[in-house]
């Protein structure tokens, strides 16, 4: 399956290579570099490339390319999903997935890759299992290791691989038993010029941080499970229970994990929390433009909208922006042509407004399209779909855990066309 892996930074340097079968020369990456050059954006590099003898499947994460070399037929999603899992593991281990951090921990990374694949076929991808075999680095341990000559490799053999619940470590113990769940919903919407909603949907995810001793068996039920249109689960969730009773029943992994993601059916009306009044004009004469944006609350369910931010990718011709904001501040990056207006909290009494002029390059025809506005926002303690967790029960262990659920609504791909 996966023959080799190359990690390539944004400059095109290969800073790590790992082969699971015989060695493939790194010159195979030249085909990739060619394609990379052709595509203007790194995002536009085709994920699957064909070379005379190999196939290259790559992902782009954190300004890095994970490039895998394949020799025979394999489902491309299999490889892509796996590469993302590798990146997730790095993120999990080192807090971020960047070149510097990987170079810092080259040996651990290499050991991880060794364990994750055997002969190119995924072996251990559960972070709980991996952490048993290779401990993630932390400062305290590296100090201790330096003093004692200890190591990062687990002394005990990983039992997790053998169990039927490979996602959970054996023998977990905590002084404080706690389980936290974050219900985060993102609104994906396209709003057109006139303010009507072209499309809107809600995507939700329940992230969990479970620190419970032993083998707890949790059951989470919702007040209104019928809202959920489409769901996907962490492998720990018993699907049949969900089918028959609409409850989530699971033995959780230890630590952080994504319990489920869901989708609220598009039949339901999606509450759009803010409205935007905008006018952006470019004038032929005088090579300038005007911009006027006002944001106001629409359906916020009585909560305050926070972290409001508007991002506009300006046309190339816009040289600079001379604007005044009644609230928050704005920045304009001349090289990337990004106008970012950071508003913060939305005050319904005094609506934030940004207006002013744009200076344009002379002699260049006006852009025919107005740039679209990307909106970021956050509403605490609200799941915009109305989803509510009704209860969380624990079986199998005797102690009383501390439980908590937090709701957040965010803007996902929230775009206003102008």
């Amino acid at each position: 399956m996966i023959h080799s892996l190359f990690l390539i930074n944004h400059l095109g340097d290969i800073f790590l290579e790992k082969h699971w079968k015989s060695v493939i020369s790194r010159s195979v990456c030249d085909y990739f570099f060619e394609a990379r050059e052709k595509a203007v954006d790194p995002e536009n590099v085709p994920p699957v490339l064909q070379t005379p003898h190999h196939y290259l499947i790559s992902i782009y994460r954190g300004k890095l390319f994970f490039l895998s070399v394949i020799q025979t037929e394999v489902p491309p999603l299999f490889v892509i999903e796996f590469l993302h899992r590798v990146a997730d593991t790095f993120q999990d281990y080192f807090g971020e997935c960047s070149e510097s951090v990987i170079s810092d921990n080259l040996v651990i990374v290499y050991e991880l890759l060794e364990e994750m694949l055997d002969n190119g076929f995924p072996l251990a991808t559960e972070s709980n299992v991996l952490k048993e075999m290779i401990r993630p680095p932390n400062i305290l341990r590296s100090v201790v290791n330096t003093l004692t000559g200890g190591s990062n490799v687990g002394e005990t053999l990983p039992q997790g691989q053998l169990s039927n619940i490979p996602w959970r470590r054996a023998g977990v113990k905590y002084a404080n038993n706690e389980a936290y769940f974050d219900v985060t919903e993102e609104i994906d919407a396209i709003v057109d010029k006139s303010g009507t909603t072209v499309s809107a949907e809600i995507q939700g995810v329940i992230e969990a941080c479970v620190k419970l001793s032993g083998m707890p068996d949790l059951t989470m039920s919702f007040m209104n499970p019928r809202l959920l249109d489409d769901v996907s689960f962490h492998p720990c969730v018993r699907f049949r229970r969900w089918e028959s009773e609409r409850v989530l029943s699971f033995i959780p992994p230890d630590g952080n994990f994504t319990l489920m993601t869901y989708h609220i059916s598009s039949q339901n009306l999606v509450a759009i929390p803010v409205y935007v009044k905008q006018s952006i004009n470019f004038f032929e004469a005088g090579s300038c433009g005007r911009l006027d944006i006002t944001i106001g609350p629409k359906q916020t369910m009585g909560k305050t909208v926070e972290d409001l931010k508007v991002t506009i990718h300006m046309p190339k011709a816009v040289l600079n922006a001379n604007l005044t904001a009644t609230q928050g501040n704005y920045t304009y990056d001349c090289t990337t042509k990004m106008l970012v207006w950071d508003i913060g909290k939305l005050n319904p009494q005094k609506l934030p407004n940004l207006r002013g002029s744009l200076s344009m390059q002379t002699g260049v025809p006006n852009p025919e399209e107005n740039p679209s506005l990307n909106i970021d926002l956050k509403i605490q303690q609200l799941a915009i779909s109305g989803l509510k967790v009704s209860r969380l029960d624990m079986y199998g262990e005797k102690y009383k855990p501390f439980k908590g659920v937090k709701y957040v609504t965010k803007a996902g791909k929230f775009q206003v066309r102008t």
Binding site: I80, N105, L106, N119, D192
Partner: protein, 1125 residues
Amino acid sequence: MSASSAFNDEKGGSSSVGEPEYGHDPASGGIFSSDYKRHDDLKEMLDSNKDSLKLEAMKRIVAMIARGKNASDLFPAVVKNVACKNIEVKKLVYVYLVRYAEEQQDLALLSISTFQRGLKDPNQLIRASALRVLSSIRVTIIVPIMMLAIKEAASDMSPYVRKTAAHAIPKLYSLDPEQKDQLIEVIEKLLADKTTLVAGSVVMAFEEVCPERIDLIHKNYRKLCNLLIDVEEWGQVVIINMLTRYARTQFLNPNINESLLEEGGSGDKTFYGSDEDEDEDEEEKEKKAEVAAMAKRKPYVMDPDHRLLLRNTKPLLQSRNAAVVMAVAQLYFHLAPKAEVGVIAKALVRLLRSHSEVQYVVLQNVATMSIKRRGMFEPYLKSFYIRSTDPTQIKVLKLEVLTNLANETNISTILREFQTYIKSMDKDFVAATIQAIGRCATNISEVRDTCLNGLVQLLSNRDELVVAESVVVIKKLLQMQPEKHSDIIKHMAKLTDNIQVPMARASILWLIGEYCEHVPKIAPDVLRKMAKSFTNEEDIVKLQIINLAAKLYLTNSKQTKLLTQYVLNLAKYDQNYDIRDRARFIRQLIVPTEKSGALSKYAKKLFLALKPAPVLESPFKDRDHFQLGSLSHLLNAKAGGYQELPDWPEAAPDPSVRNVEVPEWTKCSSREKRKEKKVEKPFYTDSEGESGPTESADSESDSATGSESSSGSEESGSGSESEESKEASESEEEEEEEEEEEKKKKKKDLKKPVQESESEQSSEEEERKHQRKSKPRKSESESESDEDEESESESSQSESEDSESEAEVKKKKKPAESKPPPKPVKKESKKEKKEMSLLDLDDFEPAPSPQVTPVNTFLSNSLVTDLEGLSLSDSVLSPATIAPSSTLKSYELLHRITGEGLSVEYCFSRQPFSPDANMVAVQMQFTNNASSDTKNLHIEDVKLQSGMRVKEFPEIELLPAGETATAVMGIDFCDSTQAANFQLCTHTRKFFVSIQPPVGELMRPVFLTENEFKKEQGQLMGMNEITEKLTLDVKCRNEHTIVQRVTTAANLSRVPCGSDKECSPPLPPPDHPVHRFAGRTVTSGSLVLVTVATKEEGAAQLTVNCEKMVIGTMLVKDILQALTQ
């Protein structure tokens, strides 16, 4: 890359013993001269006897390898450390070995003995890792050793080692393909493995080594299907892809009969007004379709194994892993009946939220699917709308999908979207949009003019690319109806002055030439201009100029003769030989000379023939001959190692090849034992209905699959139970099996060479030894464990239960052993029972309303309930026997008068409907009061709310005058009280009738202890609990009547009070007893709990806890009525 910074980072990271005296990091490369010396350093460190130094050295070496630097000269120094005690050093040495062994084969041999020793280690993890490294070393000399190691590991007692063996198979195969035959043997053996851990890996090996040996799968097919949900994600992908191919060779095309499936397509609203049970619906639709098929006597019936595959893969659509979802999606696309494919759309649309690479692949597949099954994605049209922030390649693919989805109804919205896209800053995307508009216009004639006008407006766009693309598309559109659009052609002719894009220029010239009759004045003028600029044009434009000249010469030679001559002369000396050739050829053809042959007469016909309008097709058309989701599909070219998706067979191969013959009794007992365990700790709650295929005809294969599935779930279940105990139980069974086998002399391994079987035996002996060893270990661990006593006592309890159940099983076994064919016997007895009750029924049938039951009936009733509590599973003692037959209420279905002599009554017999556990059995009694015989009584034209299903009674051939007949049909009411409407047909008449169930009949009794009841009740609080105060009827104040009335009103069983005596001290019977009843709804199996708490003076409180609130409310009403009247 900045080497120095990397070096610094490196230092910081692998910090352990970062002393400065070792100088520069070798990994950072640098000056070669010092390289040699540095390696000396490393060698010294490796030779030292300090582990920390060795570790540091190995870390640096591995870092070098990671960066792609050559570290091969250190081989001798490193290989010495292969036996190092320190685990981390050892691991790093392994990493090094695997990387360089191929280059230094001789030296690598030094390490082999270490691994061979490792293979014999008592610890399974060490055995596994030794095998893993040994098989990863690509040294041809050790092939025999590897082969031996794999064979041994394949029969190891640890599933993890067996998994590693499966992984090793493709490694050995790639090293030495000669070993194929032997490896296939190992694969065959491992395929029979029952653990989920092994399944994925061995199928992987199968795919790499012998994908053509599909026959190896037969015996394991059902097991794989049943294990699937518990296999790890990556294994699932491989298995599903393989099973898709398998199914294509073994089953019939479910879409042979298109007409039959259309019926299943339309879904009505379910009773609860939401489509929460959509998947269930789908299944039921399918069954409905099947029923319809049966009624119409259509030939196609889906193989139950085919159905099994579809059913067991469906839950995986909910996987978090995109590859798994895609694998299921392609399986459904290639294998499922048309009506069912729709379920995958939702999951695929979900994946569009994922990383852009995932989106890219998914969209490619959606594009292919949407051509064949447009309807599937139509509801999700908006999910394919494009955002300005999408990467271009995603945009283009989304556009493709949108175009495929366009039809008459949605085209206006799509075109409005397209209009926004055209203004985008991303010009490649705009060009793609214009092409998409063109395709919509050609496919949907209604919007052709609108599109054309829109495109013409684009011709005045500032951006040349946009204009050029529009020209090309307009050209294609105009070809469809040129006569109407001469003004557009004129407009385009003017554009030649401005447009520089060669393709566009060429298109305009072609258009003018083709339709020069429509623009007789402009055409020669265009040619004049072109002749002027001929030399500066691109080749493609030059060719079209020649073309235009030729056409004009033929139609309008007076004006253009000279111009043509001029152009042809220019072309004659062109640098490009294509153009020179073309010019020469055309000159000969159109200019008549003495030498020119017969062809010139036909020149006009040649040039001005009517050309068919081009069909604008999706580039994804016909891509589905590649298996979707595969690399080959993505590239639209066959990738190496791609296995063609075979076509459906004409006739289905023998399905019996998948039957697994197993010693019936061992299986049965183990199954029951496992069920018991499952009750203790369910993991992936496999519902009973799931494990026993409902549709399968032959009972033997049923039991096989059933038991296997339960074994699968057991594997995943009992999570906390230690490996050893399970293994012990497993091996016990194996022993049993062995005995059986010896008895029955079923020698599958006769074929195997004697030697092997010997080795097997010895390994088994080893296993046993090991087991013995492990047992004390287990108890040790138990006593050591600082878990509370409770858990221990619990486990001991469960153990005792286990032993109890075993004893019970044995008891059962004994009588059965005397009667070898056990199954039929069981069935017969069941039948007898049924008939008995039927007789009873007949006696009591006339009773129109619930009557006071004799006390003894009730007593026996509760006795049976108690007995049931003792039995192992509720299916053993069928609750049918509990049903108080005397109190069955019968309803009229067809009155004597309306039925013209035929009267029909029905009642809910409260027996499990044996063909399908999810159905309510309805017993019908037909009485022929007419003077003539009635023939061919049967059901037709069943009209149901969506999700409901009906299993008809077998046709009654003849009902003589004055006679009475009974029949049982099953109806799945989907837990709703909606009526099932159908026509009752005789040979002469049809009567519209309907059956509406009282809510109390939608459930079946279950046995719960008081504690269980309270626990369950605790989970069904809040909205799920309905409480009602009431005053009991005067006649109804004693226990017996209350119980009787409640059980009459609803098919529930009583929860014995005080049944948990061992837990609580015996209490004196309270003055105001509380009665509890429990049941489950028939379709969804939701618990229904009823509590009647009596108080002073006939006051009482009725509480119903039910997840299905509607059922709860209705039930409260019914019981209230029963108790107060």
